[in-house]
Symmetry: C2
Subunit: 387 residues, 2 copies
Amino acid sequence: MREVAILGIGQTPVDEHWEKSLRELAGNAVLAAMNDAHIPVDVVDALYVGNMMSGALSKQENLGALIADWVGLKGVEAAKIEAACGSGAAAMRTGIMGVASGMMDCVVVAGVEKMTEGLPAEVTASLATAADADYEGAQGLSFVAINALVMRRYMHEFGWKHSDFAPFSINAHANGVNNPNARLQEAVTEKDYTNARMVADPINLLDASPTGDGAAAVILVPADRVHTSGRPIITVAGSALATDTVAVHDRKDPTWLEAAAKSAQKAYAQAGIGPRDINIFELHDAFSIMSALSLEACGFAERGQGVRMGLDCQIDLKGRLPISTMGGLKARGHPVGATGVYQIVEVVQQLRGEAGANQVENARIGMAQNIGGSGAAIATHILKIKE
Amino acid sequence: MREVAILGIGQTPVDEHWEKSLRELAGNAVLAAMNDAHIPVDVVDALYVGNMMSGALSKQENLGALIADWVGLKGVEAAKIEAACGSGAAAMRTGIMGVASGMMDCVVVAGVEKMTEGLPAEVTASLATAADADYEGAQGLSFVAINALVMRRYMHEFGWKHSDFAPFSINAHANGVNNPNARLQEAVTEKDYTNARMVADPINLLDASPTGDGAAAVILVPADRVHTSGRPIITVAGSALATDTVAVHDRKDPTWLEAAAKSAQKAYAQAGIGPRDINIFELHDAFSIMSALSLEACGFAERGQGVRMGLDCQIDLKGRLPISTMGGLKARGHPVGATGVYQIVEVVQQLRGEAGANQVENARIGMAQNIGGSGAAIATHILKIKE
């Protein structure tokens, strides 16, 4: 099994890209990544696309072939990989297997979602397909409503009040200010957070990540083929995906992300490290509650104490474990099928020292965790600078 | 890179399964395959699901986690793979990479499509998402209409008349009669073919495959871990997926399946064989024209002469190259995202000698080719009996 390196990264701003088609949006990210990797088109063996809703919103499937053709890769192997909001990281998994197996020497992994293509009600309905259609969706539960139930339960179980979650939102927004690709480049205060409009009690507008159009891409190659050229070589030290029930009510404990714990433990074991070795963590802060649950499942905080990491100022750029360093889903934005690839791109930016004003000092090992559904499919990736 | 074996197979009849949910349908095939392989649930590392339209028709994405949970595999890695009607074979590709890489020791690959869940107009619209939404779909071209244009052009270029395509349909239906899992278990005559109702000129009802609900599954393991137990060990000798433009009008020649040729050549090279060594061929006869084009692209017939193989009785069970041996898409049925896995299952049935009344004598090497879109994403798999 070969070690895999990330040779190039690319992304588009997360925004309302009315002027760009789905293929153009994805293509822009792919071409940026290929340019960053300095590779010609003829070395690429495959393109894997993380995407969730193109069929429903853009009336377009077969994205693999479509995007491959647009970027000049016609002929290569290509497919779309879907695991709801975890589609981006799921596509990473296939790309990594392709290169690790020796079957491929160069794979492009892209994530793309064009959400402004649908009417708001269509987008809400389509997001609900991440949940259990028969037992959650059919009861009228929207995706945010499910997360609201989980957050309310968590608050009840562990005695937190809504304002205790504020640091997650404030930190993400503060980091989004300096990220030109972020959907929301504006800081928010605790007062803004408290006064924000309610979406699904207790989740208000500043607990919820904004959707949007966006695409990100990475180039994967065998690590032993990469030559240093002034910038660090970033390798995949750990990679795992685990699942749980899709319906939250089927779990023994709705406030525990078993699939996050499982995939993180696998990734730690592969990398030969533990939570203390992680310098930055791009977690899946689609809703504030998910930040707390992710921190706990990955071993950074005790059960029910993830919120405290925010209150104790451990999560900002100078904290013990900087999270959402480029704005996270909350401020960079959450184009669902693309999000997992954005996270990988951002970890690479940090490890390369290319994170600009948001650079975390001495970041050598970074982790990304992408969640599909309300904890149903969770992938964890650990990246590091090659020694 | 490890050699991959297919340890178990499972399938449901292709039918209108009103009484079964999507997860139950897929689950039945997965459980049948696990039972056939005699493996317990705790050895399975991952489940990859080929599916195209669950989001649009069943309002359900995140199928990987959903189905894994239903069959008792909660926790394993899981994702959905989509390449339009080629989704099943695309899922096979990810499963093969998982086992070949050494990252996984046992992978379940399932294909499922529940098409009766949607209204006919919804199904037609959803099938059109396999085509180019901006340049074909937006012009009102349905998927069958695109194939009709290709068939008309082929007839014009090479001088064939409509009735020359009859043997493809007659052969498939004849083979479907003895397959209890086939959607259409009735023979048709040349007269039936000629008199069939027109769908999209020149494609009539007996040129077109029926859709339906169906699921199929296979169990992949490293070949060196399989012990003989009376039945032959079936291995993956070749596996490749290639792409082309999604829009047919973007190709130099609409009557040539470049991605079929490319993926077949790769698979032949991996297997160290050529077209003459193939004993049976499960091709993608979604429409009669696709049978002809597939035979030509894979080197079984000269350009424009694929039709002749039917007229010369080379494609039936006792012919030089039996195709659609269990009914093909035409009679077994075409539950789109499941089809590629049905094909693999049927090749295994033939190689194991379990094809019943449709058994092809001395079948030792079989090929399956699954097409996504009108030739946009094509995967070719070559299976053989391990020596």
